[in-house]
Amino acid sequence: MLKLLVNRFLTALIVLFGSLFVVFSINYFLPTDVVDTLMSMNSSDPEVVQNLRRELGLDLPFHTQFLNYITDIFHGDFGTSAIDGEPVINKILTQFPDTVLLTLASICIAGAIGLTLGVLSAVHQNTIVDYVARVIGLFGISMPTFWSGILLILIFSISLGWFPAMGSEGFSSLVLPSVTLGLVGAGFIVRVVRNSMLEIIHENFILTLRAKGLSERVIMYRHALRNALIPAITMIGVIIGDFLGGTVVVETVFARQGVGRLVADAIVAKDLPVIQGVVFFTAILYVVINLVIDISYSIIDPRIRRNQLGG
């Protein structure tokens, strides 16, 4: 078990280092940099620009800059905003709780809808229940969040007045944004759960259970569902990545506070350090969450544990 943990942890570290490298390379190889943003607001005297570049270490060779960047990151320094000079990490941390709340609520909604519909549609394969669930699943993955969000605002806040259209105060303002994101996740989960349930239903051990005379309900919910859950959990890991990206749009549509909104505003202001800081911060989160999921289901399922240990 310890070997597995160390193994997973080391892989995660390597991947993190890699994503750091990717984010840095984007920064390095592009024609524009922080100085251009700074200069667009002030006069652009070539000598001033040159001095500023030297001061910020932007004239150093690639590997030296990369080393400096890594050292800064390890000291918790994600750079400073090109607009107001505030450290990026402070900006991220103040906005972070709202985004976590939104993501968690969305996952709960996605999981609840996705699992229920996925199981129902597999158990009642090729009936009207199945068709409806599949159509909802397809709609979930096909609707752009900025559109479904606007539709929800139109229906539930402008016409019916049940929930506020924007803001991030209180529980009621959380409902519409999390439903918007949750529907996307639900679409993915419905499809995965349905497919894995159908695969498992055709396996031999289900036949054995039927021969043993167990009721259909026990077979489906006690035995088939348990085995179908693993791909669903893996899917949640993937979905979290989509959610973290999706919050940019959803937080903009609902005018909520959050890390996504921070990026959206930084895009408008061309504040590159903030964008890069958030992208890397998200990558860390994404890797850590997937590490936890990886380890957790190798604890749940002995077969995976055995395979991963190569034995």
Binding site: G18, L154, G241, V268, V278
Partner: protein
Amino acid sequence: MKEVISEWKDEKRFIIAKKKLVNIRFPKFKNFFLWISILVIMFLTSCAIVPEWIAPYSPTAMRSDQILLAPSLQHLFGTDYFGRDVFSLVVHGSRPALLIGVCAVLVSSLVGSAIGMIAGYVGGIVDVIVMRIVEMMQSIPGVLLALALAAAMGPSFRNLVIAIAISAVPSYARVMRGQVLSIKNRPFILASRSIGTANSVIFFKHILPHSYSPLLVMASNGLGTAILTSSGLSFLGLGVVSDIPDWGMLLSQGRNYIAAGWWIATFPGLAIALFVLAVNIIGDSLRDYLDPKKRMV
């Protein structure tokens, strides 16, 4: 006599071909939706190719006497705050919206599958290095990577295509590598190798034709994702700026007038959703059709 035989052969071939055609079957439920999806795609694609023939008004014509009119027979989707006809805007907006998606999918599927297939075929240290790089790129969620790239490169058609394509490359590379690995050691490849066939011939003549089906499925589902991403970027203000806005930009403009006119934001979004839905349905049918295991169920 010769003629009779050749005629007979032709006829036999024709019957076989006809049987094959008849045997193409999709599950019943999908059949109906599949045809509707094909129709939707055909309509929206023709909008993108010849918008002038379909749109009743010019997308740039502003009529100050027809501001914020609700949908009617005259203006199918109503008019916006400048008095422009929303239906014409949606029809004309299809070109930039679809073009970016299609180009991004072409670039990412070609580059991604080339990387993956070469890594899989060559193997060894090349494979290890390439796949590690791919994994690193995958550690950043696709939407965010595209967003960071687009923001850093600045909004232009070419940059958007590159940003969206790069964020999709890793998944193509992974799948195609797996596909090549599974074919590489099949007996017919080994046999071909044992009689001294050149590597390039084996790659292009034997491996390539056997690995296109997952690529096709991925590309068709990838088109949906690419269009969602590009319209999302455009919605956030990273789209190509022009006097003919694409669907994402139309939506973000319409959002400001949502209380005054629901139709401005609703219809461009509907176009995106319908197109992506249709592409996904076709992708699913393709997967079911190309996967013999699924066809049996």
